[in-house]
Symmetry: C3
Subunit: 304 residues, 3 copies
């Protein structure tokens, strides 16, 4: 929980992932001496604000996006969304501009225009994010940015015992993408043996995917993975004994979209715990599903 | 007709192109000893489910997509479309899941939600496609998946006498693309002399493109080819003596979209016979237009 | 003004940029002996209709798109838009087909369908553009295609004293893009030291960006540049003393979109004078803002 709290405290709306990247570099440097394999850290220069961990001889990459939805201050008290936040009047927003710390409230008018309420004007271009507020009980974890702090958390837990594999912390997922083309190129040019990607991200509770029934394996969303790869994943998931649910959606997408459309031959599948209250400050995930997610990732990273 | 019937019998909705690829590999291996030039077959590994045929010293590539529209089974009796099928209650759908062969009926409710009618539940994630049913008379060929079985058929007919050229059988065209970036990279890295692409696909009968008036040369759809390349194509089309029609649309797209947006310098143009009843089980193409299509492709592949 | 008039006289709707490219090659060859550094011209072959100028040891590339919005003649008197023209009945359109010069009028019906009025039929596939008509007074320049003739003009003015840098004249910006993937690949492979891009283009007058208040630095549009790069740009802009305005939008995009999504690590920011009457024949830009644009580009190209 301490690690998850730390992850949720760090603001990283799309375009400003650098603080999260710095935290992760620091965390991996401190923690990895205890891990089964100490990974190579790749960052800086041509990787912009992204971070890659390389363990042993990788065949499969875990993608976990570091960015979150949020808001950009426009003119006067106007806000422009970053990604697709679920906006309701009264939600608390935090940020920082040249005049100091900001703790504002969101206001949504009848035309769904977005504004902030705060005693002073906030500088144009300032980014605001949901106020951190993590709650947990025996069953659920609830707070802002389960999507994708839990995807990162999953990757860091898998890292502890990972022998051969790659973990890719990406940017811009919530806002149209843009980092994965560069990251897949890096992978292809430097680790051509990596031809499989697991998208470590959080999905939606729906009529077919419920809380507490296991991690969701997405057979498709707006994009469709290759059937041959899905069949291998499902056979291994059965073998693993981990509880999982099948997801089939017509919409929605993830870093998988850009892996799919990249010029490099990397198969992909989205595997993640489901949440409700999507993109609100109260995203909620069942702990059993998170545990199943970590277990399934460990199994797949070993056997794929 | 036997070849076309075989093509239509094989299910290959986007994501599941492998059966069609396997059929084509087999067909080419058996037939090509009779062809003017025996092509090199490239497939497997980094090409995923795609297939490339290389003849002599290629300058131009024919792209023919192997995938079709269809449906994915969601939860209960729900369906999610693959690509943009024209859905009407009563259309017959076939498929196969762990419990065996499926011959179901499509049902569309008032809100345009899609369902199947079948005596038992079909497994989540199963794909369904139009039931094969090819009809032909002296004028027309009619059935499901003229788009793009005829595009494949055209490529295989052109292959018989092709001396220098490339034929690319691609995936995912009906569902947002994703294979062409990889395929153009392969082409650029392995056959940099290929700088021209003909998109062998089927277009729409409209107020300006009619049945029986020849193959359509598309001057634009949602994307616009380079004017300089179009001018060369039109000059050669005139020289060929083949009957053709000019198409100008503001929407629609093809594998040409991804060739256009790829980082590699490959010009493209869509050339194909028109159909009506688009994306229904009764797509209909005039035989004269298909014959013109094959003739124009043969001429262009020689003279471009 | 003579240079700008020349630029506006040349038709170059998306897909037909070659005339503008030829003009620019000619202009640079004639003018560059007077410049601080004579650039290397790169064009032809794999660059299709695009043009790149290389000065000294470049670190930063200016992108200025050569194409404009316009119309394609469909069937009968129908028109299909190229890009997103602001269409009003009566606007004058010019072009040329096999039967000669065309000076037609635009007609928009109640359903926003587009037509031309001209005494004869125009050949299918012919492109039409706004009739050139440049006006200027002490304050404003007004006419068609300020977007992006002024972006080109800016680049050519900066070129006069540029020592180290690159200028990229691109295609297809108004119509969904397609040249920038190829251009960024060229840059990455041939000039890997270029990791920064300034998008030299014209933006909109809005409630937050006014005529005469300086060049606009866009902190975001539909896409979001990296915060770390924006911070450097803003620090340099302050240092430059040039008057500028901050822009924050939720929509709109530019060549920056494709730089952002390319597989190559190139940061980008849109910097341009604002206009009103966007995409009409009467686009209007304040001369002070254009002068500020040129000054800021000169400063940034030196100090970035």
């Amino acid at each position: 929980m301490k690690l998850l709290e730390n992850l949720i405290d760090i603001p990283s709306p799309s375009g400003s992932e650098f603080l999260m990247r710095d935290f992760l570099i620091d965390y991996v440097k401190k923690s990895s001496p205890e891990w089964s394999v100490k990974p190579k850290l790749v960052y800086g220069g041509d990787l912009q604000d992204n971070l890659i961990l390389v363990f042993g001889e990788p065949r499969t990459a875990i993608f976990a996006h570091m960015d979150t939805i949020g808001f950009t201050v426009r003119y006067q008290d106007q806000l422009v969304p970053i990604g697709g936040p679920h906006a309701e009047t009264g939600y608390e927003l935090v940020g920082r501009d040249g005049m100091g710390f900001i703790d504002a409230r969101l206001r949504v008018d009848e035309e769904h225009q977005l504004f902030y309420d705060f005693p002073r004007a906030i500088e144009t271009g300032t980014t605001l994010t949901w106020k951190p507020n993590l709650k947990a009980n025996a069953e659920f974890i609830e707070g802002p940015y389960m999507d994708n702090r839990l995807g990162i958390y999953n990757a860091l837990k898998v890292a502890e015992t990972l022998e051969d594999g790659m973990i890719v912390f990406s940017s811009f997922e919530e806002h149209g993408g843009g980092s994965v083309p560069m990251l897949t190129r890096y992978i292809h040019e430097n680790h051509p043996s990596v031809k499989q990607a697991l998208i470590s991200d959080i999905t939606w509770v729906t009529e077919g995917v419920e809380h507490g029934k296991g991690v969701a394996i997405s057979l498709r969303d707006k994009n469709i993975p290759r059937k041959k790869f899905l069949d291998r994943i499902l056979a291994l998931a059965d073998e693993s004994g981990v509880s999982y649910q099948l997801e089939v959606e017509g919409g929605g997408s993830s870093d998988g979209r850009e892996v799919h459309h990249s010029p490099y031959p990397i198969d992909w599948v989205f595997i993640g715990a489901p949440e409700d209250n999507v993109h609100s400050p109260n995203e909620r995930v069942h702990i059993k599903d998170l545990v199943a997610m970590i277990s399934l990732y460990k199994f797949l990273m070993e056997h794929l």
